[in-house]
Subunit: 214 residues, 2 copies
DNA sequence: TTTGCACTGTTATAAATTTAACAACCATAA
DNA sequence: TTATGGTTGTTAAATTTATAACAGTGCAAA
């Protein structure tokens, strides 16, 4: 009897790396490569080959000795683990500079994850399409979220609109939020939240640059 | 004799949180608040109050019992630690959708960290200003980096230009890079690197949303 | 004045994550 | 045929990070 792999308790960091591995593997595949060694993946991701092998062990994937890992197989396996079979629909609230940049970047990149609606308050934006994504009025949010079975929301509204936007999304039944505004939000326990602020990252870079000077 | 605090070996995570604390504290200060408790900071950042107190202990800050921490003092102390005294100049390469969104967001937000130049290859962009930041030709990169003493570079060029852009920045003597393209780069050991891809974050959110369903 | 309460600061412990160590494997070359 | 080298898979150890436990403190209410 083989060990049951549930993937439920994969380390959070491993989940992140699986996404990164897939991104790298897709690129390799498009370059005509069919197999790859753990140390090659490691080099791309700036980590050690042990870590790569350990992650792959955790998801139960075995490579071929001396040939490495089959890129296509591995991409598919990672997909089986991190993607949702039926796909997950995403909405983005705030079709400003950042929102449009994200839509333009993301759209069409992943099969099982799709931005299917944008929302804004600005009448000039409502009714238009941006990189193929239709922009609706914020007043229709609740309706559209349910209609299109949207599970994840990305927040890119002005900072002072963040709290209200988060509330609206939660009330509409969203299950995951990615908040790009610099205003942290509160969500119920059953909503998964990630927040990102570029300033923190930039300050971190600046800190270690300063340190290396001293 | 008091313990010498060097800040050189603060945990990486603490550095990130200090930046986040400051962001939150600045907001509180602008709302007229003068003091704050560890559990209040913790709530904002979705962490525990122990962690906040531990971080502040590491930087040697003491609050007033039953009154909490003096917000202004703490902001200044965090600044003394993570900011560079003389300030650090930043350049952004690729003045497209994302690059302009980042500039517009960041400019004027921090005293000791300033985006002082943008670079692009598109003649329509070169010579213009975006949110006050002048866009130069990529051919002038080396000269301007040295002239303006730029230490950190942000990369927001198309993915297939990433490697070349990174090389150019490194050759110009940059000490830190923040790469927003989905193409990982290699840098020498003395250059500090951070990479961020929104797809990884979004896939992580989607994964945990899927998991909560099962 | 005294007691309890709500904080802080710090040390001890636990959990998460990374790295090291090494056996097993097998293609290739001697 | 036999050693060699380079790779995987896995367990063990180390490191990093977060949490728990608790003593110390001083305000406020009794
Ligand atoms: N995390 C990061 O790295 C990062 C980078 C840049 C910007 N930001 C933040 O992202 C947010 C957006 O930045 P931007 O440059 O795109 O700003 P922007 O002003 O260009 O866009 C904001 C958009 O939100 C719309 N909007 C306003 N109120 C709304 C509401 N209540 N509901 C729905 N839509 C609403 C506006 O009409 C506009 O289209 C800001 O909060 C900014 O601070 C974050
Ligand atoms: N990390 C993220 O979350 C995220 C989000 C969105 C986009 N992106 C990535 O960021 C990058 C930029 O995205 P965008 O939407 O702004 O694209 P864009 O096409 O709008 O902008 C790219 C800019 O780079 C300029 N450019 C091209 N080649 C150059 C070179 N060699 N040197 C200097 N400038 C050059 C172009 O003229 C253009 O102005 C892309 O790689 C994209 O994949 C990342």
């Amino acid at each position: 009897m083989t060990k049951q792999l549930t993937f439920k308790n994969l380390p959070h960091k491993t989940i992140e790396r699986l996404s990164q591995y897939r991104r790298a593997l897709l690129l390799c595949l498009s370059n005509g490569k069919t197999h790859i060694f753990s140390h090659e993946i490691a080099k791309i991701q700036h980590i050690t080959s042990v870590q790569v092998r350990r992650d792959l062990m955790l998801i139960g994937y075995s490579g071929t000795l001396r040939k490495g890992y089959n890129i296509e197989e591995l991409i598919n396996l990672i997909g089986n683990i991190i993607d949702s079979e039926e796909g997950i629909n995403v909405a983005i609230v705030g079709m400003g500079n950042l929102g449009r940049a994200l839509i333009n970047y993301f759209t069409g990149k992943r099969h099982k994850l799709e931005i299917v609606a944008g929302f804004d308050t600005n009448p000039d934006k409502i009714g238009n399409r941006f990189s193929g994504v239709e922009c609706y009025s914020i007043t229709e949010l609740n309706k559209i979220i349910k209609q299109k079975d949207i599970k994840v929301g990305i927040i890119t509204v002005p900072a002072d609109q963040t709290t209200e936007t988060a509330k609206t999304l939660v009330k509409a039944g969203i299950k995951g939020i990615l908040n790009y505004t610099p205003k942290p939000i509160d969500v119920p326990d059953d909503v998964y939240l990630e927040e990102y602020d570029m300033i923190t990252t930039l300050e971190k870079v600046a800190f270690y640059v300063k340190m290396s000077d001293e």
